[in-house]
Amino acid sequence: MNKRNSVSNGVITAFLSILAIAFMVPIILVFMNSFKGQFYISKFPFEWPAGDRFVGIDNYMNGIVKSGFLSAMGYSFWITIASVLIIVILSAMTAWYITRRKSKLTGILYFAFVFSMIVPFQMVMYSMVYIANTLHLDNPVGIIFVYLGFGAGLAVFIFSGFVKGIPFEIEEAACIDGCNPLQTFFMVVFPLLKPTAITVAILQAMWVWNDYLLPYLLIGNKYKTIPVAVQGVLTGSYGARDMGSLMAMLVLAIIPIILFYLVGQKSILKGVIAGAVKG
């Protein structure tokens, strides 16, 4: 606009650049330290990994073996992908049903789903673990069912909001053309819900991937996801605190997230904003 404005824009750009670097420092620091020997990590965390301090990929080898990182990665990927797929499809179906078929029961259900969103996990944690154990859901397949139960609240809530915006006539037309409700849902309604489905999928993926307490309590003894494996590096029964392995595990835990972010940045930001506004 004018000269004063461009000067202050320059100051702001400089400020933001410094801040952006500061924001990256913690991650860079962990990356640097993942190549350093144990002793140097706690003694000289800010030194560059060179000379004596440099240990190559030793930490990575140790950490991967100690924490069983590769299997943890496998479990994390499986649980996240399967849970998200199931939550998205089944919650969308449920949301469509309870929005279209108004009755006392569906009204109560909708209220219960919304209500579950404000209840902290600690409130149900103990009883849930007991019930899930009794029903033999304490394995990498059963936990997906549990995640469906916990994810349904937010997912049904978001989907319902969008189903209300779909004109009922479209579905009726499909029905007159001879579709049964399943066909109507998958051929007419679900395609219209696709943007919402992406929002829900992103929100749920971020939650399931990073979730610690639920997988730790339910399957943590036998099957470790990444957060559980990372937490186990220090607190496990391996004797001395192995900072080297921890640093390497942190780097390996961050890499998939950064890749996911770089690939899907646009949808992630859109999904997060839409989810926040709806929730």
């Binding site: 824009n9 952006a20 069912f145 139960g149």
Partner: protein, 281 residues
């Protein structure tokens, strides 16, 4: 069509409902019951009335301490996160070069899980404190401010993108009209910008409030409550009461009920306050 739909209840609703009942509805009801019981395993419970609720305050001061710590942490976090996020959002809606890159960087920490975040900051904070011959477990002050910094690092970018979306929705004409009328930038902020982004403020306050209040993973990995449980937040205190000592799960459940009630009340209050504000503007 609605009539045929009814027959499809088992396909459309039942799977979700079954999962929801198992992970939420039944555990919730059981949880309320267990908070009035004494038990070692869920199979054998004895009704003890309000015993657990009395015990959680009388057996030691852990719960009260955790409550105070959590409230203090939440207040400071909500204020700092929202203030910084709003300032950054203002900077990133001026059309300066590199806006997208800045946004990408500031948002990224939000995607990293709490356990990982805690360890990242433990390394950094201990590295700095080392120069003074101490570490983060030396005093509760370090743990407190460490958590505040961590929370800011994690949440600022998230709140920033919500504020940016809100700011971009303000019509240009309004800003122009105000500046033609000779509004100073302070007046512009108070009378035009803030009322118009009231919905974003509501959302962000609520999100930071509930995320700070319910914080667990970060608390566990950054300090795990050290020193002497002084940096334990409510969620971690409840967890430790449940699993730390056998026979105290009932007290843990009672704490969880109180925790739930506080979260629910905050949520409802927040909703009411912000609703009335939005109508005014």
């Amino acid at each position: 069509m609605l009539k045929t739909l009814k027959r499809y209840f088992p396909i459309f609703v039942l799977p979700t409902l079954a999962a929801f009942a198992i992970s939420f509805i039944i555990p919730f009801i059981m949880g309320v019951y267990l908070s009035f019981s004494s038990f070692k395993t869920v199979k054998k419970t004895t009704w003890v009335g309000l015993d657990n609720y009395i015990k959680m305050f009388t057996m030691n001061s852990d719960f009260t301490k955790a409550l105070i710590f959590t409230v203090e942490f939440t207040i400071i976090s909500v204020i700092t996160v929202n203030l910084f996020a709003f300032i950054l959002a203002k900077f990133l809606t001026r059309g300066i070069k590199g806006t997208n890159l800045f946004r990408t960087v500031f948002f990224m920490p939000n995607l990293i899980g709490g356990i990982v975040l805690g360890y990242i900051w433990q390394l950094l904070i201990n590295g700095v404190l080392r120069n003074f011959g101490v570490d983060i477990t030396f005093s509760a002050k370090y743990g407190f401010w460490g958590l505040v910094i961590l929370m800011n690092w994690q949440m600022i970018g998230y709140m920033m993108v919500i504020y940016i979306a809100g700011l971009q929705n303000i019509p240009d004409e309004l800003i122009e009209a105000a500046s033609i009328d000779g509004a100073s930038s302070w007046q512009m902020l108070r009378k035009v910008t803030l009322p118009l982004i009231a919905p974003s403020i509501t959302i962000c306050t609520f999100l930071t409030l509930s995320n700070s209040f319910k914080l667990f993973d970060q608390n566990l990995s950054l300090t795990a409550g050290a020193p002497r449980n002084e940096t334990r937040m409510l969620a971690l205190d409840i967890y430790n009461t449940f699993y730390g000592r056998t026979g105290y799960a009932g007290v843990g459940q009672a704490k969880a009920v109180i925790f739930f009630l506080i979260v629910a009340i905050i949520g409802l209050l927040q909703l009411k306050v912000s609703r009335s504000k939005e109508v005014e503007s």
